[in-house]
Symmetry: C2
Subunit: 299 residues, 2 copies
């Protein structure tokens, strides 16, 4: 099948490569030439704009950074919407606000282009190993049409409901993940403050009910003090803001008023992490915020 | 080996049975006759008091409820200390304050009886399947002597340090577990408020970085609304109080002043759960507290 992929960063690149491994023809677009290079080396065709890429793809995937990027590459002057053929599909995979996802889907639909919001969880490792969890929103028939392609990139692939439902699910995912990261940072800091070896604490906790992917992945980086890996914390900052916005609106279709106190508290920790100038660090650096509340001025 | 087991509740009973499966002779004590029955049926000898049990056991395990229970069955009028032989070992396995664990260990040590604090994580299922995570504190040589027996009950078995280190580790475990349970309750409530099917949300989240044992076990009960299973929430209330106490003291050996804000917030939710009269429910009932903040008065 002729496919397109826009956005070839730490997540998009391995995802696009996994699609190509299944024999699909691939057109690519990214702002940075170095992001495109590995795809071109694997046989992909590079296009100068999303609008030029779009007519050559039956299904186009976007994996950019935030709502503004999606609006630009899809609806902007050189966006997909100006080139995509009627009956083609746009599958949008980064994490953005459900409201923006719905608005973009509506704009595309007016031109006969279907859209699926299909954000993922699993991180760079899940992207590389094609074991991502993919949560999709949009029409059921569009989901069924795209599902075999999603299966080239992920393992757990569920249709969550109408347009926006994928992004709402992702917001719930990020809420759970981030609160768990805050709790993990507190637990590891407590262990260290009490004179225990955090590496051993992590190991024994992984054998019990406190076990989690967060403790496994971010807990390891908290222990090794390697805060360079993974996805930049500023992206989680964006995601948790989306989740809090949803709670603020209580799901768009409902009356306002859902209290998510642990998520709100965790947002303050992530704010503090950004304020420390560590927005580019891995989320595991959250432990520095917890530790920072204990540091003496001299340190 | 001649063993003793005191406290045969939802955790202790399967643990004692797993020890017996490996051919050990077992003496048992519990306040309630019905708790002892399955053990006696399997060949265990029932004793009327811990003091009468103790001289017949080389190693005695205690799996009672709280600090007061441990003090009673070990140091009380009819406690283990009045019967145990010099050179024998007491392995204390429920979750109690590290300070109490150390005090009881010191009292036993004065009589030539060694003690290991060895709390567990894994719940009733882990106890039944002998897959518990066991975190031990005490002398290394005592740990090595007891380890083959711990291996009859658990899979991940680590020596965390001196007396009390097992309980400190367990406090960190419970902190991480409970904050994650609060986040899980918020995420599932947000999903439901936004019109999604919480069962599908749980399923797709389990495939990504938000995956955790808490989402697996407690998340399922939040979805099925079965709050009767597992361990009573009031026990987690006790455990989190211990973790907060440790942070308050910052690990006994250190200066005070460790901030664990998400743990403190979660304690308030667990307080509210107890206040709703649901201390006997499963911890998954925590979702009712989050939902309760949204309920109208009429409901």
């Amino acid at each position: 099948m002729k496919l397109g992929f826009i956005g070839l960063g730490v997540m998009g690149r391995p995802m696009a490569l996994n699609l190509m491994k299944h024999g699909h023809e691939m057109g690519v677009y990214a702002r940075r030439a170095e992001a495109v290079a590995p795809l071109v080396a694997a046989g992909a065709v590079r296009y100068a704009t999303p609008a030029e890429l779009a007519p050559n793809a039956e299904i186009t995937f976007t994996m950019v950074t935030n709502s503004r990027d999606v609006e630009e590459v899809v609806l902007g002057e050189q966006g997909v919407i100006h080139g995509a053929r009627e009956g083609s599909v746009l599958v949008d995979m980064e994490t953005i606000s459900p409201a923006v996802a719905r608005a973009v889907a509506a704009a595309l639909e007016a031109k006969g282009i279907a859209m699926l919001d299909a954000p993922v969880s699993g991180g760079p490792m899940g992207a590389a190993q094609a074991t991502l969890s993919i949560m999709a929103g949009g029409k059921a028939e569009v989901f069924e049409r795209v599902k075999p392609l999603l299966a080239c990139m992920g393992k757990t692939i569920l249709h969550m409901g109408a347009s926006g439902a994928g992004q709402i699910t992702k917001a719930c995912n990020q809420l759970a993940l981030l609160v768990n990261a805050q709790g993990t940072a507190e637990a590891m800091t407590l262990a260290h403050a009490c004179g225990l070896d955090p590496a051993r604490v992590r190991e024994v906790l992984l054998g019990g009910v406190a076990a989690s992917r967060v403790l496994e992945l971010f807990g390891e980086r908290m222990v090794t003090r390697d805060f360079s890996a993974g996805i930049e914390a500023r992206l989680y900052h964006k995601d948790l803001h989306i989740a809090l916005g949803l709670a603020h609106e209580a799901g768009l279709a409902h009356e306002a008023g859902l209290a998510v106190p642990a998520a709100a508290l965790t947002m303050q920790s992530v704010n503090a992490l950004i304020g420390r100038g560590e927005g580019g660090s891995d989320l595991s650096a959250l432990i520095k915020v917890v530790e920072g509340m204990r540091m003496r001025n001299a340190e």
